[in-house]
């Protein structure tokens, strides 16, 4: 009797401490979960807060006098003359007219920096489209220089020390005048989605990289989906249980965990050096990413084949179907939604992958938007990497903008996978 009382007392004595430990333990758990969630939010906040400004761009309105004396003094109007004309001087004259009091080479150069270096090409295009412009005076909106753009977006402020600020006080004053006259404004940045890469931040866009990613993914999808489904079908439905198939299985599981950069080394040594395929091409990128995503697709496809109940197979075989007919007519259609889901998830991972693409030379500086799978190109994540390395401050917002585009694509793909799973996947 007295012993029992003692035990109860002991338990009683320790109870407070144990409850406190219980409480602490739970608190650790909550802290860990909230830490994870905070990381997610912080990551998104830091990308979006840096990047949302890249969807707007500053333009300056210039009053351009299409001077016949400069463009086409002979009045021949032939295309070569129009192409080779000195449009730069038109831009400069127009700027000088706006600020007639500016003198001296250094000051003038500062003044010219207000507009982007592609303004003359704008004018060239206009004149070549419509030679009737010659001799007239037109108001033309051209891209502002990247530093002006940064100032307009508040990334460069007047409070900064003049010596470290990319724009000097005089330039700020000019911008102020432009603002007063209402000839400088921010607009939606369509060029960001239509241009290729550029050394000038204000002209750089993601179209080239997005096309490169698109071609790469097409190659990956066309190769990895059939091969992945075929291997899954073989391993799940046909393969005899023996050493050979065990070896294949162990191989697939291991490949799923091999670092992606090793696949890049493989691509470099085999596809480029041995087979002599072109460097920097989406074709090679697609091949490498195929090898990388195959394990993901095979594993997902096998899981969805496994989920098809054996009774379906037995019923088909019982009706006299051959093994191949049973698989092709009954098992595959039922397993297809799961396989597609797995493939989309694999594609999403391939879209975000950059390390193997660095190895096969898809990091070149490429201005043109690629048109075929053998054209040199980059991919979206590699473009992000390249821009993140650029010293100009304006590239920070471009990088974040490109990240937002990439994340949007990933979101769409994963969303599609979720919808596919919820709508079509049957559970038995």
């Amino acid at each position: 009797m007295s012993k029992g009382v003692r035990t109860a007392e002991l338990v009683e004595k320790g109870l407070k401490r144990r409850y406190r430990a219980e409480w602490m333990f739970q608190a650790y758990g909550i802290a860990a979960v909230s830490l994870g969630i905070i990381f997610v939010l912080f990551l998104f906040y830091s990308v979006i807060s840096k990047g949302y400004t890249s969807f707007a761009q500053t333009y300056v309105q210039l009053e351009i006098q299409y001077d016949e004396q400069i463009i086409d003094p002979e009045g021949a109007r032939d295309i070569e003359t129009l192409r080779m004309a000195d449009y730069m001087s038109l831009v400069r004259t127009s700027l000088k007219d706006m600020f007639p009091q500016v003198e001296g080479r250094a000051n003038l150069r500062k003044l010219y920096e207000l507009v982007s270096s592609n303004a003359p090409f704008r004018l060239q295009n206009r004149v070549m489209d419509d030679p009737a412009l010659l001799g007239t005076t037109q108001k033309v909106w051209v891209l502002a220089g990247d530093e002006v753009d940064q100032f307009m977006k508040g990334q460069i402020t007047a409070d900064e020390e003049e010596s470290t600020r990319p724009l000097n006080d005089q330039q700020l004053a000019w911008i102020g005048v432009l603002e007063q006259r209402g000839v400088i404004e921010k607009r939606f940045n369509t060029e960001f989605f239509t241009n290729g890469d550029s050394r000038e931040p204000e002209q750089a866009g993601v179209a080239g990289a997005a096309m490169g990613s698109f071609f790469t993914l097409i190659v990956t999808l066309l190769l990895s989906f059939p091969i992945g489904v075929a291997s899954a079908v073989y391993l799940e439905e046909f393969a005899p249980r023996n050493r050979w198939t065990d070896l294949i299985e162990v191989n697939i599981n291991n490949l799923a965990a091999v670092p992606s950069i090793v696949f890049g080394l493989l691509g470099l040594a085999v596809f480029i050096n041995f087979f002599g395929l072109p460097r920097s091409a989406p074709l090679v990128g697609g091949l490498v990413l195929t090898l990388m995503t195959l394990p993901t697709i095979i594993i997902a496809s096998r899981a969805s084949l496994k989920a098809v109940p054996p009774s379906i197979r037995e019923a088909a075989l019982g009706m006299g179907a051959s093994q191949i007919q049973m698989v092709a007519h009954h098992v595959l259609p039922l397993a297809m939604p799961g396989m597609l889901t797995g493939t989309i998830i694999g594609m999403a991972r391939a879209l975000g992958e950059s390390a193997p693409l660095l190895m096969i030379g898809m990091v070149a500086f490429i201005v043109d938007v690629p048109q075929a799978i053998t054209d040199p190109s980059t991919a979206l994540p590699v473009q992000i990497y390249l821009w993140a390395d650029s010293p100009e401050r304006a590239f920070v917002e471009r990088t974040s903008g490109a990240i937002m585009v990439l994340l949007l694509f990933l979101l769409l793909m994963n969303g599609l996978a979720v919808i596919l799973r919820n709508r079509f996947e049957r559970r038995w």
Partner: protein, 462 residues
């Protein structure tokens, strides 16, 4: 004839073969009404004819596409004037670079040396002959194959079984891609690594403490030989991965425990996908985050408490890598914890254990092997991670134990050695493959071990 037209013609031929085969199967039994006399459905006769017609020819075209450059280059070398034979290896590769550029139209003929121009002309001549020959051979393959089967079609031909045999062989072929990939990886890194170990002894590579792969252009420059001691890279990799695991393991494990054991199902079903978002974000985004947000943040914080933090510190890269790995650890640990049978928990409650005591003393020990396996997989992830460290860790190889300094890793060095122009016989580029070999072996060992542990554990309760 260009390759794409050839392939198109072959596909059309195969489609025609399908129709002819199918028609023939009706003809041999005397019309569609007598279809029952055939061994297989008519479509199988068509399919068999199409496969025999298209498959060998397409395989031939594919093989030639892969090898034509090597073969023709070889022929050009043999046919060219004698002086080409006496060129050194590097001169010859230079010449062939020119030849390729001319052939692809990147460079005009006038811009290269006469020897290269002649070689290019020879190359184009041979390539033209080969293309024509290929077209003839492939088309005759297709016709002969198709005709062969077409003539043999009879009511007793077991067309379905033959077609299924071919399909099954194709399926088997696809499933061996995984094996060929592994072989390809091993061979490609092994060969180049062997060449590297010819010029740099393997013990110097593994135990040396000096890493400066920049070989000098002139022989009399300082450090002309370059030194390839990889120890600083290994320690750098270990340090960054270690920091990452210090973040990922506690956070991942505790969130898994909380979500699996304590959380309300509704909270769990929202919080879990939220954490898994972290796994879906591309690594280049983490790299950007580490370099532009975490790095400056840590440096400013260090300044404010009087510490000297490098802007490319191991700490920044490690922390961000840890964040990336959290969902990896947490979802694996979650699986393992939920796999522990409820009966074990009930037993502990019945003895008066609190919830946390049950978790610590019953659930976790039972789930431990699985969790260890998951952590090993996570370590192999961290070691092989590239973009974060390329963007946020340093380039110079420091042998240091201070996480506030910049260190470099194996993957960073592979990238810096191989990106940009490269010659394939300098130890500098070959070193990248030696590092790749080390990386592959270490991660392979970790994966095999982890998969073994996880599988063994899963079997216990299932």
């Amino acid at each position: 004839m260009s390759t794409s037209t050839l392939i198109l013609i072959l596909l059309l031929l195969a489609a025609a073969a399908y129709r002819f085969g199918r028609k023939r199967s009706f003809a041999v039994v005397g019309g569609p009404r007598a279809q029952r006399k055939l061994h297989s459905l008519p479509a199988y006769y068509g399919l068999l004819t199409a496969l025999w017609c298209g498959l060998p020819a397409l395989v031939l075209v594919g093989l030639w596409q892969l090898s034509h450059d090597t073969v023709i280059s070889h022929l050009v070398i043999e046919n060219l004037p004698q002086q080409v034979g006496t060129l050194s290896e590097s001169e010859r590769s230079l010449l062939f670079n020119d030849v390729h550029n001319v052939v692809l139209g990147n460079v005009a003929v006038e811009q290269v040396t006469p020897a290269a121009a002649a070689a290019a002309a020879e190359y184009q001549r041979l390539d033209g002959i080969a293309q024509a020959a290929l077209a003839v051979v492939a088309l005759s393959f297709a016709l002969i194959g198709g005709l062969f089967v077409w003539r043999r079609i009879s009511p007793v031909l077991r067309a379905r079984n033959r077609v299924e045999g071919i399909i099954e062989a194709l399926l088997l072929g696809c499933s061996t891609v995984a094996i060929f990939t592994t072989i390809g990886i091993v061979l490609s890194v092994l060969f180049e690594a062997m060449r590297f170990f010819h010029s740099v002894p393997i013990h110097e590579f593994i135990f040396g403490t000096q890493w400066s792969p920049q070989t000098a252009i002139r022989a009399d420059q300082v450090g002309s030989s370059g030194s390839f001691g990889a120890v600083p890279l290994f320690t750098g990799t270990l340090m960054i991965s270690g920091i990452a695991m210090m973040v990922a393991v506690p956070v991942g494990l505790f969130s898994a425990i909380y979500l699996a054991e304590y959380a309300h199902p509704r909270f769990r079903s929202t919080a879990k996908p939220f954490l898994e978002v972290l796994a879906g974000i591309p690594t280049v985004v983490y790299g950007f985050f580490a370099a532009l947000t975490m790095g400056p943040l840590l440096r400013n914080f260090g300044e404010s408490i009087g510490l000297d933090v490098a802007s490319e510190s191991a700490l920044a890269a490690g922390l961000v890598m840890g964040i990336m790995i959290i969902p990896f650890v947490s979802s694996l640990a979650d699986d393992m914890i939920t796999a522990v049978p409820q009966a074990m928990r009930d037993g502990s409650y019945a003895l008066g254990g609190t919830h946390s005591e049950t978790i610590r003393k019953v659930v976790l020990p039972a789930a431990l092997p699985g969790i260890v396996g998951g952590v090993l997989l996570a370590i192999s992830r961290a070691i092989g991670e590239t973009m974060i460290v390329v963007m946020a860790a340093g380039l110079s190889a420091n042998l240091t134990a201070n996480p506030l300094e910049a260190v470099t890793t194996v993957t960073v060095q592979i990238v810096t050695l191989l990106v940009g122009d490269q010659e394939f016989d300098s130890p500098k580029t070959l070193a990248a493959f030696a590092l790749g070999l080390m990386l592959f072996l270490v991660t392979l060992a970790l994966n095999v071990l982890a998969l073994h542990i996880v599988r063994k554990y899963r079997e216990q309760y299932e």
